[in-house]
Amino acid sequence: MPQGERGPIVRRLAGLMALVAAVGMLSACGSDSSGGSGAGGASLVVYSGREEELVAPLLARFEKDEGIDLEVRYGDSAELAATLLEEGDAARADVFFSQDAGSLGVVAEAGLLTELDDSILERVDSQFRSDEGLWVGTSGRARVAAYNTNALAEEDLPDSVHAFTDPEWKGRIGFPPTNSSFQAFVAGMIATEGEDDTRAFLGGLVANEPETYEDNEAVVRALAEGVIDVGLVNHYYIYEVEADEGPIPVENHFFTGGDPGALVNAAGVGVLASSEEMDAARSFVEYLTGDAGQRYFAEDTFEYPVAHGLKPSVELVTLDQIQSPDVDLSDLGERLQPALTLLAEVGLL
């Protein structure tokens, strides 16, 4: 064993350690100095559960229009909500921009959000804001039955989601039971029709041997491939998949008559009570619920603007036309655990 050659391994390791430590400290310092409020203009920390690919252009536009710097931490909405709960009073975020009402609800319930001005709250329908005024919706996403246009025509599709328990749909339907948007739909059905009817509905679905998927997008891709004929998804996934794949033979079908299958959930925003940048935070919420923000959601993300007086992009059925069920989104939270229990009972989880 040539010891002279191998001896210095410890010294080499130590040298490497020192180098990494030095670089680490330098970059940590670097991020610290840029982390504080920039000279002059205000700086706002945003926890965004909304996808970077979708909202980054809008946030950049806000920075330019309002002269406020944003530091955006992207993540999963529910995980960011859990992070805010763990941070507690030591919250780092000024605003929480969430994919769904459920994540906002749990942060609001923990007393971490501050009340928004009535002038902002009144911009949206009471359906799309917290009862206590702690968060406000920014855009809506509707549950639909997406279908393969080679297999089905619009008139083949039922008015109610309950019809999919009929044996004629055996082996033709797909949905994502582990996805939070599907679970929110089940929670909505519990809210309007009670646990027993929801259990019966889920049991009927299972009897029809559905295909289950990881998320909405996988359902739409399976629809495009013709693996299934109908899928229970959010309305905008067709456009997301088309952005990646080009045109696909899939269309949305909207349930009618206040059917639980037509639940409209909201993405929204709330301001942390611990924030020291209340004015900037208020501008942010105003911007998202104002003309520029609402137009962006309508035209660039194919969602529904929730503020009064704006129409979605031309191809969409308008929000007024969707006969959504009478569900208060801030009540959905307490139905989520029962929804998970029911899904587990029928073997979908």
Binding site: P2, V20, R73, D76, E79, G88, G105, S180, L340
Partner: protein, 544 residues
Amino acid sequence: MSLAGHLAPSRAPVFRGRPARGGLLVAGLAVGALMLLPVAYLVLRAAGASTESWDLILRARTLALAFRSIGLAAAVTASAVAIGVPLAWLTARTDLPSRRLWSVLVALPLVIPSYVGAFALIAALGPGGIVQDLLAKPFGVERLPDISGFVGAWLALTLFTYPYVYLLVASGIKGLDPSHEEAARGLGESAWSTFVRVTLPMLRPSIAAGSLLVALYTLHDFGAVSLMRFQTFTQAIYLQYRGAFDRTPAAILSLFLVALALGVLVMEHKARGRARYYRSGAGSKRPSRVLSLGRWKWPALLFCGAVTAAAFALPVSVIAFWLIRGAVSGDGLNLTWAAAGNSVLVSGAGALVALVAALPVALLAVRFPGRSTTVMERLSYSGYALPGIVVALALVFFTANFSPALYQSLPLVVIAYVVLFLPQAVEPLSASLLQLGPRMEEAARALGVRRTRVFARIVAPLIARGLVSGAALVFLTAMKELPATLLLRPTGFETLATRVWTGATAGLYAHAAGPALLLVAACAVPLYVLARRVEVREVEVKAD
């Protein structure tokens, strides 16, 4: 007693020095305290649980999930051993054609994140996938067998975790003293019987260590099981966070997962046994002979080729397919070089710090075996058994509230990697310490050399292979880490894993493909260099 009985690892009691003390013990306790943070956090969260939460957990379903997790872990571990051990033996001990190239190729699947790998498997083999498209026209294949559920999760996890067994066993084989095998051959045992009755028992610590890493990885994996739609304990934990926004049941379930992992650890401890794996007589090791494969050469090549094709070429081709399609449609390549630099920096730091933290744990456990040191070593596995999100939230809680300067800083990401992956550094270190034996240290100590100097001059050079494998394993695993990186990184700090995630969550595979391919390249290059250096060194030693 049979011949093999004499040659197999001896049952003589292991070396027992004086009880550990001084700096080593303090360092060990400090590491142990760090590793216990997640469990402390979970106990804190579970303590506030209402009877409702407990009712939710204490159901038949929880037991069923536990059995599914254990079943999956057992199946994946068995198949990872079945693939990893023969590969290690073929590349380390036989005249397999271009075996140096194979020794790198078969390790490469380690760099593929299980969520990317599972996704690629579905894209290739799933309904409407690439393979079905290829078969549809010439052969009229309408539908391939379903690869979701248990089969899919088992396949994906086996393909992307067997390298843990392979790397540890290959390193174990290279550290073996060939005299036992030579004695067996000299006494007329066949090559096969020598392998089964002498070599395999000698490799027990490496196989047990690799199996442990695979089993615990399977227990905490979320990406593959979720994509393959196989319900496990870890998936149930994520559902509580993401579906019900409820931390308390998630904490209780996580504690159950830690208990499951402790069960696995007890099994590993039994499998490793109390045998001695180092030379007890006088003399030193010499390089072992290369075995000629003869007519087994072609089946051996086929085996290596098939494993590499399924576990590495397939996912990389799928990623390349998306990349090219994206480039053609004008999406650009999205080669995020800055993120690649960040990944290498933070994972490299994580690997080195993990190595330093692993040393006292491994030294105490191997050289001072006793109840307290064993308990300390076992507890250091709790972070590795937990899903990344749980460890991340534990660190959020402790640092945001008690050490705000550390919160959302790079050093915290490094600490998270240590908490998550420490066992990957401890296992190879322990295995090589077991092979080294205490004789030389004892001799040096008897000659009056200081402990630290004994370590630097004698132990470290002789366990260099374990040090390097440990650092490499942590580095490669940290490169893929997502949940903790997302929550703990400084705002705006992007790694390759976070870039892949950004593209994939928006359904834009073309955007995810560039960083995914860079991730594979950034891991493959160090792995290749590492393997070459080890080989070159060995040739030099042989030439001496």
